[in-house]
Subunit: 122 residues, 2 copies
């Protein structure tokens, strides 16, 4: 059975424009043979944030620890461990760590774009 | 933004052959407009188990709390919080709570079968 573990010490820095203090690991992805969707683990340092961007595929997110805020299509919501969120395709969105502990979440994406082509980081 | 919460007190019993002590809730599913895959929250009581079965779509699972074992295609692995697992399509599989606390996990499924038709509970 394919089994891996969430490990905040085993993530790699994300080097994208607009990113601050974010690292990630693909837990279950294309490289592991996932047929339809991929599970990634993100760690955002206190004061850090993901890029404020939009793309043509959705996210399903579950917050594992820490606290912060999620911006989605102009709305900002507080987020904390146990929250499950849907980021729809083409919505401008960002995750920000406003707490003093690492903000950890899982973010799932489809493997392929609807119109064809790979989803990056899937 | 569509946001919901993992809540072990807000799940419904699963009434399927071969199930013991399992309840679940669809956190992000077809009913919420998920385009490609669905996130469900499962709670298995101590001594309980999911059905030992196989089906033509995969699972991606992440264990949130508790401990137990996962059977997959004849192999049995210990599972605990933080484990991420892939159950491939057509593999005979079962999740069993062998601990004394509830075993909680998220289980994600594609919305549609490859050959067409809805995945149940998606």
């Amino acid at each position: 059975m394919l089994k891996t573990r969430i490990d905040p010490t085993d993530t790699s820095p994300v080097a994208l424009d607009g990113v601050k203090g974010v690292s990630m690991r693909i837990l279950l992805g294309r490289e592991h043979g996932m047929p339809h969707f991929s599970m990634r683990h993100f760690v955002v340092a206190p004061g850090g944030h993901t890029p404020r961007h939009a793309h043509d595929y959705e996210h399903e997110v579950v917050v594992l620890s820490g606290s912060g805020e999620a911006e989605h299509d102009g709305e900002v919501a507080a987020i904390t461990a146990g929250d499950a969120l849907f980021v729809r395709a083409d919505a401008l969105h960002q995750f920000r760590n406003t707490g003093d502990q690492p903000l950890q979440f899982l973010c799932l994406v489809p493997r392929d774009r609807d119109g064809g082509g790979e989803v990056p980081g899937s």
